[in-house]
Amino acid sequence: MTTLNKTSRRDFLKITSLTGSGLLLGFNWFSAEAGQTESVPIGIANTGFTGPINFNSYLSIATDGTVTVFSPNPELGQNIMTSFPMIVAEELDADWSKIKVLQAPFDTKYDRQLTGGSGAIPHSWKRLRTAGATARYLLIAAAAKKWNADASECTTDNGFVIHAKSGNKLSYGELAEEASKIAIPADVPLKNRKDFKIIGKSIKNVENKKIITGKGIFGSDFYREGMVLAMIQRPPAFGTKIKSVDDTAAKAMPGIIDVVTFKNNVAVVGKSTWEILKARKTLKVEYEKDGNIESTSDHDQLFVSLLNSDNATVRRKDGDVETAFKNAAKVIKSEYQCPFVAHNPMEPMNFFANVRPDGVELVGPTQTPGRARTAVAELLKIPEDKISVEITRLGGGFGRRLKFDYVLEAVELSSIIKKPVKVLWTREDDMTGGSYRPAVRYRFEAALDDKGNLIGYKLRGVGINQNNSTREDNFPSGAVDNLLIDSMEHLSPITTGAWRAPVTNFLAFAEQSFLDEVALAAGKDAVQFRLELLQKARTKPVGAIKYNIDRMETVIKQAAEKSGWGTKKGVSQGFSVYFSHASYVAQVCDVVMKAGKPAVTKIYAVADCGEVVNKSGAMHQVMGGVLDGYGHAMYGKLTFKDGKPAETNFGPYRLIRMKEIPEVEAHFVDNGIDPTGLGEPALPPTGGAVANAIFKATGTRLKNQPFIDEPLYKTMKAF
């Protein structure tokens, strides 16, 4: 117990008068500044909690020893429902088998109740630890009082308070009631990490049992007596709007309750999905032009002109780039391009809305319940506190569910038909209805002096609806004396949005591939070249440096070591390292030539995300992130013809499958730094590591994604 954590008394609200059956600690896990707001009880519905009272921001210890923790952030596979209570249980010294976890509904008391930006654990780490430590303090104080012993002589272990001197031992359940009468301390000590028993271990997903037995825990499974189902026909092409609707046939189809047109939506309302799907096919809707009708070929041409434009927005400028390039012994110039990709969470979009005169009830999968609620309030012109949002488990998100278009549709439809309704999307709806990771093209230029030193660096990023497609302060910025990074965007009616590791999911591939080209031109080893640049940033930094040089250097060195960099025979290795979401991941890809084709056999990843909370969940994020990065670099593309997505379902839209996976070996840097992001950072480096390895194996550099569309693969069958 070494760390003292300042906590305001007002941060915790112990509710003693209402329970009578244990310790109930209401607290603000996520308020930015301790003590700014007080926890107040708010009733909640349908969370499945059957305890004595409903509080949504609490940790409770019942007299039977059950510890209940509400998890506020939406769960979409990042394993937050398991990691959050692990942090609480660690400081509480709880018996993990007695932990019960419930998904909290949306409540403004939570700060940052969203899933995105790999931020849940970093933001809640201290608060969760303090909550557990505070409860533990109260339990010890209760025991000490009971035994007339000094609290400092009492210890805790696995749900018990122990007084070794007297041999006394009481369970948390037995102490809970007494603990609820003790004043909450202002400061509680937090554990030293060497004493961690739960944090850092592999703890199984707390919802495994429900998932493997097929319990209806996802939004699309939600059912409410009296609700109707609906599917919506949206404009088939971006840049079009409804001209006329003939729904006569659809309305006459069996099981159809109504067909409603609002905005650019034609909603078919019915009793069962299949009947609705069949009726929707009979709709006769004419569309007319309402903006630019764009094709992928238009974007390809547009990128060329944007790359040559004089009107780019400068993002970062260090030194004198012009002179550096004029004096260069060698100049390297290269361009990289990525296509649109769809998010494609396995569970297509869906939401339940029940708009009543007295308020609105929302249930479903959303990464951002708060923003969705605000938008619904604006749409209906009602106060936000009239709207409840219950968060179901999300069948994936990848950024798609940061948008709430599908929530607003359900709300508007419910308000029109005056019925509770669940709106379902088909896969085709999902893949053609936006939003997407936008297409981007980059041009890199590097100037080397006669000793192979990088003396000048230019990057221009041009993207669709991508105001800034660069990360101007990322590596190698800070390590190059003369540097210019600028960007331009094209505004398109094709809807775009954040996709797992926004911008960096492609920028990292382009940049790490280009650095490989530069290293080659400089006659340097890829790893050594990066380490030299970091050393330059350390000793003679240029401008602002927003990455941590030591952490990046460590993952580079460890990845080189774990992968046997430069020591393997018959294996071509590619290197990549990237900093995103405050974490650092270095990767090495092994490629072996098999029957004249490059086979990606293994990818090594070393991640520094600070403290690893749940080893099992963290491995999932890294291994899954690597495969996600590899799969999309290899196969992912969504193309447009006259505003219409050409790929509308799996099959034409290719996702990685089991037969295509390489081995992945993941490692974590053990440095005890407070946690940084992990849901996204493992994805960005993968494309670069793979492309660099394939270059080494074949001499061909893959510059455009997806790789399978590149000439190297086009000429080979069986890809």
Partner: protein, 152 residues
């Protein structure tokens, strides 16, 4: 509409639906068996996999009229208490991330192991290749199939 008598998870069900209704939607909309998931509707993702007379089958493209007297097993009926060796292996290997595809993955794996209790890596990949996992938990899925195989 015709009434179809279905044998699902050892129980008799009646469904009053159009003959072309895919089994998936009969299960989800009419029988409240929502463990079987919709992912693509064209038999490309495997999220809707059930057993038809023990064979892993995509329920999203199987019309209810084609079932006749065949026995259907869904994730809800794979075992009484969630303790089928594949389910136990899925928990032990801590496979699920978002979890949405897992019912389909488990049903495909269970059918494979019934047919071939000791599959090779290649046979596992062949059998599981039709099941997409967008979270890319493929390594754990493969590990869990092997784990279940070792316990059957």
């Amino acid at each position: 509409m015709p009434i179809f008598n279905l044998r699902i998870n050892g129980k008799e069900y009646k469904a009053d639906v159009a003959a072309d209704t895919p089994l998936l939607w009969v299960l989800r909309d009419h029988l409240s068996l929502v463990g079987t998931k919709y992912g693509c509707g064209i038999a490309q993702c495997g999220a809707c996999t059930v057993h038809v007379d023990g064979e892993a089958t995509r329920s999203c493209t199987l019309p209810v009229s084609a079932i006749s007297t065949k026995k259907i097993t869904t994730i809800e009926g794979l075992s009484e208490n969630g303790d089928h060796p594949v389910q136990l292996a899925w928990d032990e290997a801590d496979v699920p991330q978002c979890g949405f595809c897992q019912a389909g993955q488990i049903m495909t794996a269970a059918a494979l192991l019934k047919r071939k209790p000791k599959p090779s890596d290649q046979e596992i990949a062949d059998a599981m290749n039709g099941n997409l996992c967008r979270c890319c938990a493929y390594h754990r899925i493969r590990e869990a199939v092997k784990l279940a195989s070792s316990k059957i």
